[in-house]
């Protein structure tokens, strides 16, 4: 299940009335949105949206019925058990890491950021980035992990020749297991125009 789908279903389950609603669904053979709303003292739109979302996730079944020529939907529970399967590895694309490590980088000239050096250690502890201009200018402070701090400590200066990310990792003596977090900060700082890549 992808993360957005998990978020949607979790949001559904976290509603204050969710347990009562499911109790209703397993108790009744079938139920309409207006019946559920009146039973649980909810707005009919709330009950309708909840049932529609359950239908989208294939938890309830819906069918149309006609009463005095006016059609409406009735819902019946389809699954008495369902599980949420979250695969976090999908959030971390491992496939092109080797390629990314060969990218050459350095600090961008006139980068609008303040690098704070850690006391007693050879690393950058945090970086303050300025976003926007004039009155809307805001600062955003990013606290760095030790490996990120070491990486930025050894990042080439704006007038220095570019170095590949792999070379900087070696220079800073950073363990390979921290590569993902390094790439994360590199990509973030590239987006904020603090790090530039060689063409």
């Amino acid at each position: 299940m992808d993360f957005k789908k998990v978020s949607r279903i979790s949001n559904l389950l976290s509603k204050s009335f969710a347990q009562d609603f499911f109790q209703l669904l397993v108790t009744y053979h079938d139920i309409s949105a207006s019946q559920a709303a009146s039973r649980l003292d909810l707005h009919i739109k709330t009950a309708q949206d909840f049932l529609e979302e359950l239908h989208n996730f294939d938890i309830v079944e819906k069918y149309e019925v006609l009463e005095k020529k006016r059609p409406y939907f009735r819902y019946t529970i389809k699954k008495l058990k369902f599980s949420i399967d979250v695969d976090l590895s999908a959030l971390y694309p491992m496939d092109n890491i080797a390629l990314q490590l060969e990218q050459k980088v350095r600090e961008r000239k006139n980068a609008e950021a303040i690098f704070s050096t850690a006391e007693q250690q050879s690393l950058i502890s945090s970086i303050t980035i300025f976003v926007g201009q004039g009155r809307r200018r805001k600062e955003r402070k990013i606290n760095l992990t030790v490996s990120q701090g070491k990486f930025l400590y050894y990042l080439p200066f704006p007038t220095s020749p570019y170095l590949s990310i792999r070379e900087i990792l070696q220079k800073a003596d950073i363990n390979e297991s921290h590569v993902a977090e390094i790439l994360d900060i590199v990509n973030l700082l590239r987006d904020f125009k603090i790090i530039e890549f060689s063409n």
Partner: protein, 263 residues
């Protein structure tokens, strides 16, 4: 002697002439407003303060040359208080001592034996840099790995402070050499945060790193290649350390004195 090649020249009007004019005006105003005894008492207090300050320099730097200004200010204070027409012998003795010490003081100043070396350090570092191109960043620049013991670096730090080259801060894992524009603030502990000043770090693993502030970078005539400048400043201090450990400390001072910097 050599003149400044890389660093901007001193503004003589602001640095020398203006303070002299202001002090002279204050002096003349006080002279005209106060009676003779009060005026002499105020001057004596100023001299005592200056003398105390030099005792502090003497204690901090362990440079015996500070005995000369300390002696001069002390005798000058005594002269202002005790030199009267009623005691000609004491007056002559005090005036002779003060004048002699003044001559010695002028000699030490002309020979640059008492001097904070802020501009000399910046100039010497820049002489290794040929390329230009602004690439300023306030990040520290890792220069090199050097082998030294804690004792070596501590002795070197004492030497550096003794000759006013930098102000050292001793930390658990490193020694930080600050190149302050105003050494007085650090000596008097008015400023203890070195992060906003140019500094060189020698840590316990032998790593040397340099940070140059924007203010100091703007003191150069050209926009020197920033990474090269940082590397040069680090190399300069590594060279100083090697020279000092090889008992060639005098060469460092001669190198500084060869520059024709008065302020």
């Amino acid at each position: 002697m050599e003149d400044a090649k890389k660093i901007k020249r001193t503004n003589w009007i602001v640095q020398i002439a203006l303070p002299i004019i202001i002090l002279s005006v204050i002096f003349l105003l006080l002279r005209s407003m106060l009676d003779n005894m009060t005026f002499r008492f105020i001057l004596a207090c100023i001299m005592i303060l200056a003398g105390l300050m030099h005792i502090l320099f003497l204690a901090k730097t362990r440079n015996k040359i500070y005995l000369i200004p300390t002696g001069f200010y002390t005798f000058a204070a005594l002269t202002f208080v005790f030199a009267t027409k009623n005691h000609p012998a004491i007056t002559i003795l005090l005036v002779v001592c003060t004048a002699t010490l003044f001559v010695f003081l002028m000699y030490t100043l002309i020979k640059r034996k008492i001097k904070w070396r802020y501009r000399e350090v910046l100039e010497l570092a820049a002489r290794y840099v040929a390329d230009t191109g602004n690439g300023f960043t306030q990040r520290p620049y890792p220069v090199a790995h050097v082998t030294y013991s804690r004792d070596d670096i501590t002795r070197f730090a004492r030497f550096i402070l003794k000759y006013g080259i930098a102000y050292p801060y001793y930390e658990k894992e490193r020694v930080v050499f600050v190149i302050p524009q105003n050494m007085l603030l650090h000596l008097l502990k008015i400023r203890q945060n070195y992060l906003k000043e140019t500094h060189i770090i020698f840590n316990s693993h032998g790593e040397v790193a340099v940070t140059i502030t924007k203010n100091d970078y703007q003191k150069y005539q050209d926009e020197l290649s920033f990474d090269q400048l940082c590397a040069a400043l680090g190399s300069l201090f590594i060279d100083f350390l090697e020279k000092y450990l090889n008992d060639q400390g005098k060469e460092i001072i001669e190198k500084m004195n060869a520059l024709k910097f008065v302020v």
